[in-house]
């Protein structure tokens, strides 16, 4: 075998590996879309609704969103071409982050809604950034971008922080998720 043939073989190997990982990871895209819709609704509500309604809104969205993610994961498991034992660890990973945020807010007695939002956003941005290292570069990019957006909005437009995160953060998750889920290899 000559050098060019070896190069062609390695290129073919890399292409197939990338394509396989993208196809196997498509279900993650729909979970990102659901998360994006949750943020879009939740942060918009936080921006405009009276204080008394905000917690209830997030509670309803969280329950509905979690249910939708479980349904997606179950459906994907049945219909996906890849059987993985990782579904529940992945699910628990994200819930562990949520519990971590609750603990942070409680332990440090954070009562400002915008600060709570920033803590949650930065935690999940870091989660996405790390998660994407194992699954899809776009998830990492989305996580890093959300982190930058959250910090920028917090510092530059604090009075419109929630609206910015609803549109930009939610939109980024929905867009990235749709790209991952629907891209043809």
């Amino acid at each position: 075998m000559d050098r060019n043939q070896a190069l062609d073989d390695l290129k073919a190997i890399r292409q197939i590996m990338d394509r396989t990982q993208r196809e196997a990871g498509k279900h993650g895209g729909w979970s990102m879309v659901i998360a994006g819709v949750m943020w879009l609704i939740g942060f918009t509500a936080t921006q405009f609704l009276p204080d008394g309604y905000i917690n209830w809104t997030w509670a309803v969205i969280s329950i509905a969103g979690t249910g939708a993610m479980i349904w997606i994961a179950t459906r994907s498991t049945r219909r996906s071409g890849v059987r993985t034992p990782l579904w529940w660890p992945i699910f628990l990973f994200w819930w562990a982050l949520a519990v971590f945020d609750l603990l942070l807010v409680w332990l440090f007695d954070i009562t400002d809604g915008i600060q709570i939002g920033l803590v949650i956003l930065l935690t999940f941005a870091m989660g996405y950034a790390q998660f994407g290292l194992f699954y899809h570069w776009l998830i990492t990019a989305a996580g890093a971008s959300i982190g930058v957006l959250a910090i920028s909005a917090f510092l530059l437009i604090p009075s419109h922080f929630c609206l910015a995160m609803a549109i930009l953060g939610g939109g980024l998750l929905i867009g990235s998720g749709l790209w991952i889920a629907c891209s043809r290899t």
Partner: protein, 96 residues
């Protein structure tokens, strides 16, 4: 210098091994998923999987999803090792 693996060197089997290697440990690929991913026919994929299974490079598990038969394919540790050695041999050709 490492040797190219003649079984894995065949283009279709090379692509099959590349696809299976990229999955996480304990993950298995469905036969139909592999077929569509690699744009092969049922017969073509079956023949190559059989050869790889006989060599101990892949494991094949047949189950049922309801009433529908499903075939799951996963690379074995021996397959991982053989594929890694084959890649090393390719890289040696490139660098020499």
């Amino acid at each position: 210098m490492g040797e190219l693996n003649p079984l894995i060197h065949q283009p279709t089997r090379l692509r099959i091994m590349a696809a299976l290697t990229s999955l996480e440990a304990d993950e298995k690929a469905d036969f139909v998923f592999l077929r569509d991913l690699l744009e092969l026919t049922d017969g073509n994929l079956s023949v190559h999987l059989q050869k790889l299974e006989e060599a101990g490079y892949v494991g094949i598990e047949k189950t049922f999803a309801g009433r529908r038969p499903k075939t799951w394919v996963a690379i074995t540790p021996e397959g991982h090792s053989a594929f890694s050695e084959h890649i090393d041999a390719l890289e040696q050709i490139i660098h020499n």
